[in-house]
Amino acid sequence: MTDVMTLDSARADQWTGIGLFLLGASMLVGGFTMDRLEIRQIHPASIPGLVPMILGVVMMICAALLTLGARQQSVSTTGATQQFQGPVGSLKSLAFTAGYSVAYALILVGLLPFWFATAIYISVFYIHFSWQLDTSLPCRMKRVGLGVAFGIVGALAISTLFEHGFLVRLP
């Protein structure tokens, strides 16, 4: 048996249940304390906080059920042989894709002209993932060249389409 917590495990569900319960409670409090617009003499049944309050209560019930169900599940599987099969994919690839893509979207775009930021993003993305495919120097150089060319062509195509085709002022 392993102690590793995967995202779809009962333990993860227990923690998510607690988080969702707090979210529901905040929604309930948020709805309850929301302005009731008495000054505008609206009907009391149409206050803006009504549906958030209901959603908060329902979420708290669902979260409690999720936590209880997950706890029962983890109790029933304790002692049983659990085979941890590991993640379906590469965490390194995931971390790079997520980190690099977020950095491109939230930092590079806006800091640099859109086409330039996009060319860098596409090129580096391609070079990073094709780097290990062939380790010989000439092949790597070829892939770098390909990546740069591909990045420039792709970035110019997207920028031109949006800037001139759809008349968008690019970021």
């Binding site: 569900d13 149409s46 169900g69 590469s90 690839s93 094709s130 759809f166």
Partner: protein
């Protein structure tokens, strides 16, 4: 007669060079998007919506419908050749498609999938033309009370059927979507809720950035995370790329039944193409003479799955057009696109723009003809497309995910929303939370909120009309039965009772 006249008129209107060019490129792009594992129809329609802002109304909707039909069909390519459904809708296709490809009949499997998809969409189009006006008429008698229950019904059914392991996670996803819809200015008193002083949140969370994030960015992460698969390109000499008419005739009942099942599944809010395919597949296996071949390369199984998922497309458009409640996730984006292009879907559509329904039927017909034509003609080409490395495709997709939502309002805030929903969507998917109820929650949140408060205002705070009006009472009954069936103990008890009843009937 009136319907036929309107259809002929719509047909004339769309048979122009410009429209046919749109059909060709949008369908091909749709097949391409559907073929590539990880890129779904929802993502395709969401991204393409951002590219249709400048097109005129009919051309824009035509392009989006061709993308939708093409992508659902295109998913069969990778299901057959890679054993990875290009879209979730093609999961049932891979059960029989992949064994056929392994035995060297990939070309014929794709031909049968093409025929099934085209025929399924045709059955769906017929039902769309027949049922949508009836539903729109019935929906005219809906008031705030009924619309409230319709929204609840959509979330519950969607959560129930797409939750997979646990309907509870489906309901939670739906609730999260509803909570997102509570952000920003509400629809009755224009009071701003949960904006936390952030001015950009005053207008609420845009559906397009949220969908592009949840279906685009999350899919880029998913594709790059998973190990890549190998294309099966083994060919037998007798493999062919045109379906035999005798095979189609042999499975005519399966095609008709799967078409009807798919369309009906499509009508149920938020349920989607995957359930249409699985339901059709299960029905075909129950009645088939070759049921032992199902899962091992059965042409009938493949036909049922493909007919079923494609028939969902016209089916999903029936509630989308007549109630403004999407039958599937791509239909949800389509509703947003309709609003962007000045069409107001809902019960009034048959009064305000009755011709639009028939235009949609013609658009679907053109898309169907295009998938049949290109599907059969470009079989080998699509095998090549599947070999395009993901490290080339994915950065391009993500760059479009960034610029597409930005183009809508030209605010960088939309990029933040897209990134936020992408990361959250990826984590939720890994935790087995379905995305369809979340999307439906965002769409239906406003309807639910306004209908409940309007209904309560009309009844002066009295809850009784919510339970005593006939349509409301029917909705409540269906909702309660759905929730009860989702509880394992109840489900076991019901199946025990049914089993005992059937045994007693057989013994008589």
């Amino acid at each position: 007669m009136e319907a036929i006249g309107a259809l002929v008129l719509a047909l004339q209107q769309f048979t122009t060079g410009e429209m046919l060019i749109h059909v060709v490129w949008a369908t091909l792009l749709g097949i391409l998007v559907g073929s590539l594992p990880g890129l779904t129809a929802t993502m395709g329609v969401a991204l393409l919506t951002t590219l249709t802002y400048t097109l005129e109304r009919d051309a824009a909707i035509l392009v989006l419908i061709c993308m939708y039909v093409g992508a659902i069909y295109g998913g069969s390519r990778s299901a057959i050749l890679l054993n990875i459904p290009g879209t979730p809708a093609s999961a049932a296709t891979s059960l029989d498609g992949f064994p056929l490809a392994q035995s060297g009949q990939a070309g014929y499997a794709m031909a049968i999938a093409t025929a099934g998809s085209a025929l399924g969409t045709l059955v769906g189009i017929m039902l769309l033309v027949l049922l949508a006006p009836l539903l729109a008429e019935a929906a005219l008698s809906f008031g705030s009370f009924e619309f409230f229950w319709l929204a609840v019904f959509g979330i519950i059914i969607s959560g129930q059927l797409t939750g997979g392991i646990s309907p509870l996670k489906g309901y939670i996803a739906g609730l999260l979507g509803l909570m997102v819809a509570m952000i920003g200015s509400e629809g009755i008193h224009a009071h701003i809720r949960f904006s936390f002083g952030v001015q950009e949140l005053n207008g609420g969370i845009g559906l397009i950035p949220a969908m592009v994030g949840a279906f685009g960015f999350a899919e880029v992460l998913d594709v790059m995370w998973r190990r890549s698969a190998r294309v099966i390109d083994k060919r037998q000499d007798e493999d062919r790329i045109l379906p035999k008419l005798i095979d189609i005739w042999r499975y005519r009942i399966t095609i008709a039944r799967s078409g009807i099942i798919g369309t009906m599944v499509g009508i149920i809010p938020g349920v989607g193409e995957d359930i249409g395919a699985w339901a059709s597949y299960a029905a075909a296996r129950r009645t088939s003479a070759e049921r032992d071949r199902f899962g091992k390369g059965s042409l009938e199984g493949l036909t049922a799955a493909e007919t079923g998922n494609s028939a969902v497309v016209p089916g999903a458009l029936i509630p989308a057009l007549t109630l403004a409640v999407p039958g599937s996730a791509p239909a949800a984006v389509l509703i947003a696109a309709l609003f962007i292009h000045g069409i107001r879907p809902g019960p009034m559509i048959m009064i305000e723009q009755p011709e639009f329904l028939y235009s949609v039927a013609v658009m679907l017909l053109f898309a169907t003809l295009a998938i049949a034509f290109f599907g059969l003609l470009l079989t080998r080409f699509f095998v090549m497309i599947l070999k395009v490395p993901r490290e080339i495709m994915m950065p391009l997709v993500f760059a479009l995910c960034v610029i597409g939502p930005y183009a809508l309002t030209q605010r960088t805030f939309e990029i933040w929303v897209m990134v936020g929903f992408g990361l959250a969507g990826f984590i939720l998917r890994q935790m087995k939370y379905p995305m369809a109820p979340l999307v439906l929650g965002i769409i239906l949140g406003d309807l639910l909120d306004k209908s409940l408060r309007r209904g309560l205002t009309l009844s002066d705070g009295d809850l009784t009309p919510f339970f005593t009006r006939p349509i409301s009472a029917s909705f409540i009954l269906v909702i309660l039965v759905s929730i009860a069936i989702g509880i394992p103990a109840v489900r076991r008890e019901v199946s025990n009772i049914l089993e005992r009843f059937l045994k007693r009937q057989l013994n008589r």
